[in-house]
């Protein structure tokens, strides 16, 4: 068994940690911690992008690493922390039922994701092709996080985590998307957060809480 080069080992470790962070998000009850985890995920992503940029010498990856750092590690978590403080939900926790069951579902999802990514990874020629499975898993786990949450804030964190997973997928499959698309996506994420910030205040103003069970009135009447 030949040892992988060190940079690849680190990339693999970062990928594994990303997966771990996704599970941590799945089981985390406190909303503030959820945001910290999101920042951590962004930081891991940024580190992986930097390393990949250094390894491949692709200049646009440096740019997207910088973008990741600015947006996903610094700005968005800062914005969310600020929102949390302004909305006074700092101590909010989410009553999660049956974490163990959710975890098991999560594991099944990971297996499914790895299977799904198999044909793609087999065709990829990038150094990180094996991490595509992890990217898919991160996306699906974020989806699961969103499904199991009832608080608006945690759903948003799940949404952003999904975006992170997609970004990681693009990176491991093709060393990132064309710059114009990446910029566009980043802009969309940014605008989405700003819109959400406004939205949160509207929800709070109306319901005095960010609990989504207030938002279950619209159903098909019988």
């Amino acid at each position: 068994m030949t040892a992988l080069p060190l940079d690849l080992q680190i990339l693999n470790a970062l990928a594994a940690l990303l997966l771990l962070v996704s599970f941590a998000m799945l089981s985390q009850r406190r909303i503030v911690t959820l945001v910290s985890l999101l920042a951590l995920q962004g930081a891991l992503l940024c580190a992986a992008t930097l390393l990949l940029a250094w390894r491949t010498g692709e200049n646009h990856l440096y740019l997207s690493a910088a973008l990741t750092l600015a947006l996903k590690v610094i700005f968005l978590p800062w914005l969310l922390y600020r929102l949390i403080r302004r909305l006074g939900v700092y101590w909010d926790t989410e009553p999660l039922l049956n974490i163990s069951g959710t975890m098991l579902v999560g594991l099944l999802i990971v297996v499914f994701a790895f299977g799904l990514a198999q044909p793609i990874a087999a065709l990829a020629s990038t150094a990180m092709r094996s991490a595509i499975g992890i990217a898919v898993a991160v996306v699906l786990l974020a989806f699961l996080t969103m499904i199991t949450r009832r608080k608006a804030m945690s759903q948003v964190v799940g949404f952003l985590s999904m975006e992170n997973g997609l970004f990681f997928g693009a990176m491991s499959a093709t060393y990132g998307m064309p710059m114009i698309v990446e910029l566009g996506v980043a802009l969309d994420v940014l605008v989405a957060m700003l819109v959400l910030g406004v939205f949160f205040f509207q929800i709070r103003e109306q319901f005095d809480s960010l609990d989504l069970h207030h938002l279950e009135a619209l159903k098909e009447e019988d």
């Binding site: 044909p119 793609i120 693009a170 064309p178 989405a192 819109v195 619209l218």
Partner: protein, 430 residues
């Protein structure tokens, strides 16, 4: 290759025209309409400003999405279209509006994230063929030129994600949940453009992707998926139509039904079906926005969206009444309106090529007809104690739209038919 980022071809040219036209008439409609809303205290002038600026932004994103050659940019613009309308759906700040906005944001956000994954996969496959330069690998024209060489496995997978993603946006069942809420709770001009334009753009994105995937896969799988989603939407929407009490929700479900018909027609493929689908996109867009204009006025005059409380429009406000009645007849596919022409073409093609689907389609259309007509008829002709309104509302856009639909049912201008034919050919109608 900056000059290749945008393009016009027969497929998007009529959509651009349509979008610009309906966008224009909707803004004509919305100025007096929204003023009344402000006068009634449902809106503040600040929110009115927000409405108008976001409306323009929304139009810009749709037009960019239609004209861009870059599939990545298409995604970005679709997402931007969602974002610019979220705050419009919640414009009234009522609990229901907030809920609708939240659903809209989350469902479309998640859906569109799937589409991003599909786009990544597409890029991944394209990069193998077009080189890693990364500039041309997402340009549709380039992809179309090499679609035979794209990796079928990856493209098949990509299509699933793209269909789910853009399909959510197009309101295809079972991912349609956001649509009735957003239509019912947002201001009427937004319902009109969401139904009339945004759904079209989403379908447009799906079809663009389908062309590439079909070229690579050489199998009927993408077509079958489109047909399946389409039929499901038709049937589901037809039955949900029966359960509606809110007039805007009623027509929102009708939009889902028509998106289903369009998706089904594109799924069948072939020159005639594609032609019919394109025609149907046009007439549905025109008719549905006209209906929403009329519905908006009706709801504004009576102060409610609950259908049981709207009665006798023909006596209180004949223009609104006739607008609603004619619009409903048009959308239900009665001759001589254009919807009849396109539905007739789709049905006859279905009988020839997918005979099994014809009874399902017919049943869906029949159920929808009974549901909508049964509700619209008393609203327009029912007994009412309300007095006739002093001033008839300006409903020019409604009648212009309906006149166009009528014209398309009787006579399609040769240049338009040529556009449709060329577009149908482009989407694979050999």
């Amino acid at each position: 290759m900056a000059h290749e980022q945008f393009f016009i071809d027969p497929f998007n040219v009529f959509l651009v025209t349509l979008t610009a036209f309906v966008g224009f008439t909707t803004s004509l409609f919305s100025r007096p309409y929204m003023r009344v809303e402000v006068a009634r205290g449902r809106l503040t002038p600040g929110r009115l400003r927000l409405f108008h600026s976001m409306y323009q932004l929304f139009m810009a994103t749709m037009l960019t999405a239609l004209t861009t050659n870059n599939l990545g940019l298409l995604w970005v613009m679709m997402e931007a279209a969602t974002l610019s309308t979220v705050l419009l759906v919640t414009l009234y700040r009522t609990p229901a509006a907030l809920e609708a906005g939240w659903k809209y944001f989350i469902l479309c956000g998640v859906g569109i994230a799937q589409a991003l994954f599909g786009t990544i996969l597409l890029y991944f496959a394209a990069e193998k063929v077009l080189g890693a330069a990364g500039v041309s690998a997402l340009l549709w024209t380039h992809l179309d030129a090499v679609k035979d060489e794209l990796e079928p496995v990856v493209l098949g997978l990509a299509f699933v994600f793209l269909l789910v993603g853009y399909g959510t946006k197009a309101g295809l069942a079972p991912l349609h949940n956001w649509l009735p809420d957003a239509h019912a709770e947002g201001p009427t001009p937004i319902s009109a453009v969401l139904s009339g334009l945004l759904l079209n753009v989403a379908i447009y994105a799906v079809v663009r992707c389908k062309v590439l995937v079909e070229g690579s896969l050489h199998s009927p799988l993408p077509s079958r998926m489109l047909m399946g989603f389409g039929l499901l939407s038709v049937v589901l929407a037809a039955f949900f139509l029966w359960r509606q009490r809110d007039i805007k929700r009623l027509f929102a479900y009708s939009s889902i039904e028509h998106m289903g018909i369009i998706a089904f027609a594109f799924g069948m493929g072939g020159a005639v079906a594609n032609f019919a689908a394109l025609l149907h996109m046009t007439v549905h867009s025109l008719t549905k926005s006209a209906i929403f204009f009329a519905v908006g006025h009706a709801a504004q005059k009576t102060g409610t969206q609950i259908m049981e409380r709207i009665r006798g429009l023909i006596t209180t406000s004949p223009t609104v009444g006739w607008g609603l009645m004619l619009g409903s007849l048009a959308i239900l596919g009665l001759p001589p309106f254009g919807v009849f022409a396109s539905e007739f073409l789709i049905l006859t093609t279905a009988m020839r090529e997918q005979p099994w689907a014809t009874p399902i389609l017919l049943a869906g259309l029949g159920v929808a007809f009974a549901a909508i007509f049964g509700r619209v008829q008393p609203m327009v002709f029912g007994e009412t104690t309300a007095k006739r309104l002093p001033h008839p509302p300006a409903l020019l856009p409604v009648f212009v739209h309906l006149a166009l639909v009528l014209m398309l049912g009787l006579f399609i201008p040769p240049w338009l038919a040529e556009w449709y034919r060329a577009a149908a050919h482009l989407i694979g109608g050999q």
